[in-house]
């Protein structure tokens, strides 16, 4: 899959990302413009860290899965943000062709859709396993479960 074939130039896309050198090369954005472009990446990093922390630190199994979902959502946000084109239109191109100007890159959206499907199925499996664990141990607290498992050898 390639952007070049879809009519979006790679450098245009590069301009969207925190790439100081290339950014200067291709665009001359205002400070406000940069901020409006980059807060999404900052949010991506924060959500990623929060999700990871929840997975590691929370003893509650369901909260671990929520952390995992947040971790994945951060990545979806990253992909959608890379597709964003300031002032660009919806990537719907008439079959007869013709100039459509700048438009958002459709490929990252497709990727995110697929990744969301993957994420939902993983969440389903995880919750099914948690139901099994709950019926077996009667708790969702990881520490309690570990004690029970250790006691039973």
């Amino acid at each position: 899959m390639s952007l070049a074939g879809l009519g979006v130039q790679a450098p245009l896309l590069l301009g969207q990302v925190s790439q100081p050198m290339l950014l200067d090369q291709f665009t001359q954005p205002l400070l406000l413009d940069q901020l409006s472009l980059r807060y999404a990446y900052a949010t991506f990093a924060i959500l990623l860290a929060v999700g990871l922390y929840m997975m590691v630190a929370s003893p509650n199994l369901v909260k671990k899965v929520i952390g995992l979902n947040m971790f994945q959502s951060a990545i979806f946000l990253f992909f959608v943000a890379t597709a964003y084109m300031h002032g660009g239109s919806v990537p719907v191109i008439p079959t007869e062709g013709g100039a459509v100007g700048e438009y958002a890159s459709p490929l990252p959206h497709v990727i995110v859709l697929t990744a969301i499907v993957v994420g939902v199925s993983l969440t389903a499996v995880a919750l099914a396993l948690i139901v099994r664990i709950y019926t077996e141990y009667g708790t969702l607290d990881e520490r309690t479960i570990r004690e029970v498992v250790d006691d039973n050898g």
Partner: protein, 551 residues
């Protein structure tokens, strides 16, 4: 280009995975026959692919299939080259062989076989795809099927192990996706071959985005390949899952994870990236080297046999990743051979361990005492595979380690060569522990050991009657002491002592369901592991075009 066999390799098992569920509404126990048919078809298709790669790639042509007829700029491409063809062959063979065990030994529900086939299709897809995002999707399909399989016996412990694996594995796959996203942003393409050209042409190897993407990809796939310290899911997942599942996933799932890492390193980033960013290669080799030592040391300390073999996998994958990081011709050759060899050997080992656990209820190294004389064929297979894993020639384990060590010396990485040698000694240490228990520890010295004689009461299938031992031994363990001396007077003194101590009574109830097939597949894999030890030149000739291409 249209080579439909590549697409069929992926599509057939995934589509067939629905059949056990649908037909299961009408019929019982349809899973196994369906899985068997699919596995045979997969082996046939895989041999076609291997044959065509061997004959046609030598001429230099690309062997690809464009899904939906879209060229690789727009669509997804399936690519077979010597590396992916080797792994495809491994997946097909192991999927078929494990079925020989699963008929008697495994979970028999239809849903189990649905997951079994889904995993097979996912592994094929991850192996053949030429698109970095598609690789993520297939890795997640592999993951999903594996989590379901690990929990297949529906116990709380296995569900816990599966959930741990799910959370760690998904986090790893997500990190890989971040890496794929970074490289996509840097170059604007997702096709591996396009990326290979696009990285140096657009941003260059030293671009922070490319380096960061390599870091994410390496960590993400390192989780999948269970490289220390990202291995923590592996011992639990292997030890708690049913024996059939352990054999199946130990040979394939991490193998494909390591394969994906090698594929990304050599096809996308290429050794030129390592030259531009030597730190990346150094860190990779250093982590892998630590993994070899840590995995081996942890393996030696395990009382549980399955857990011990799981930690041994950590060490072996460390060796494979180190070989990928060294990026010399011999090391890469050794890495690929060891990747395939480890898959075969671990599957065989877990199958043999499963046979012994089913027949005698023994799961710890201590309780393996004297089992070697009770289950001669299975134990011989187990012993042979252990020695192959250590690297005793002639065996595929020896070939892999030999080439990796040779490559390490070639690359001037004396530490890695030393660690490979040292880890062979450590492997010998835990292999010898098991072998000593099997053959040289009298069972009466061990609490709960299996008594030394009365072989017919516990046929392991390879001994004499095999096929239907079910009815005879079911009642034996409890009341065995009484009849034993009469049956085999020669061993009476030993056994007499065992009886007096009352140890024999502690044998777990035996599930008398070991079939000839279960023993035969373990023996077959032991035979293959040794036979492939003679196939070094052939494998070198097969992988030569790939090595030439990437190095």
């Amino acid at each position: 280009m249209a080579n439909p066999e590549l697409a069929l390799l992926v599509a057939i098992p995934i589509l067939a995975a629905t059949l056990p569920l649908f037909l299961g509404l009408r019929f019982d126990r349809v899973g196994w026959p369906i899985a068997l048919v699919v596995a045979i078809v997969e082996v046939a298709l895989a041999s076609v692919v291997v044959w065509r790669v061997f004959t046609e790639r030598a001429a230099g042509g690309a062997y690809t299939h464009h899904l939906g007829g879209y060229p690789r700029e727009y669509g997804i491409e399936l690519v077979a080259d010597p590396l992916s063809a080797s792994v495809v062959a491994l997946v097909a063979v192991v999927a078929l062989v494990v079925l020989g065990y699963a008929r008697r030994g495994g979970p028999r529900r239809n849903s189990f076989y649905a997951a079994y086939l889904l995993l097979c299709g996912g592994l094929m897809g991850a192996t053949l795809t030429g698109d970095v995002f598609n690789l993520f999707v297939f890795l997640e399909i592999v993951g999903l099927a594996t989590y379901a399989l690990v929990a297949a016996d529906r116990s709380g412990r296995s569900a816990l192990a599966a959930l741990k694996y799910l959370i760690i594995g998904t986090a790893g796959a997500s990190l890989y996706l971040v890496g794929a996203g970074y490289i996509f942003v840097a170059t604007g393409t997702l096709n591996m071959l396009e990326l290979q050209e696009a990285i140096p042409e657009t941003v260059g190897y030293t671009d922070p985005l490319v380096i960061a993407s390599f870091g994410f990809v390496a960590v993400g796939l390192g989780v999948k390949a269970a490289v220390f310290p990202l291995h923590t899911w592996m011992p639990d997942a292997y030890a708690e899952s049913p024996d059939t599942v352990t054999a199946y996933i130990s040979g394939l799932v991490s193998t494909v994870g390591a394969y994906a890492l090698g594929r990304l390193i050599y096809t996308v980033y290429t050794p030129a990236f390592f030259e531009a960013v030597p730190l990346a290669a150094d860190v990779l080799v250093a982590v892998a080297t630590v993994s070899i030592v840590a995995g081996s040391v942890l393996a030696v300390m395990q009382p549980d046999v399955k857990r011990m073999l799981a930690y041994s996998s950590v060490a072996q994958f460390g060796m494979i990743v180190a070989a990928f990081g060294l990026a010399t011709q011999q090391a890469l050759l050794g890495g690929v051979i060891h990747l395939i060899g480890h898959g075969l050997m671990k599957t065989g080992l877990f199958l043999a361990v499963g046979v012994l656990a089913t027949a005698y209820g023994v799961r710890t190294v201590r309780r393996y005492a004297n089992v070697g004389y009770r289950a001669p064929l299975t134990s011989a297979a187990l012993g042979t595979l252990l020695l192959a894993l250590v690297g005793v020639p002639p065996s595929i384990g020896f070939l892999g380690k030999w080439y990796i060590a040779w490559g390490a010396i070639e690359a001037g990485a004396a530490i890695v060569a030393g660690v490979v040698f040292f880890s062979t000694l450590l492997t010998l240490l835990y292999a010898a522990r098991l072998l000593e228990a099997l053959y040289f520890t009298p069972s009466h010295l061990v609490q709960g050991g299996v008594p030394a004689d009365d072989i017919t009461a516990y046929p392991d299938g390879g001994v004499e009657d095999g096929d239907a031992p079910g009815d005879v031994p079911g009642d034996v363990p409890g009341d065995a002491p009484g009849d034993v001396p009469g049956d085999a007077p020669g061993d009476a003194p030993e056994d007499g002592r065992g009886d007096e101590d009352g140890h024999v009574d502690r044998i777990e109830p035996v599930d008398p369901s070991v079939s000839v097939g279960m023993v035969a597949v373990a023996a077959l894999l032991a035979f293959v592991a040794v036979a492939l030890g003679f196939a070094g030149p052939a494998m070198e000739a097969f992988l030569e075009p790939f090595l030439q291409e990437v190095l």
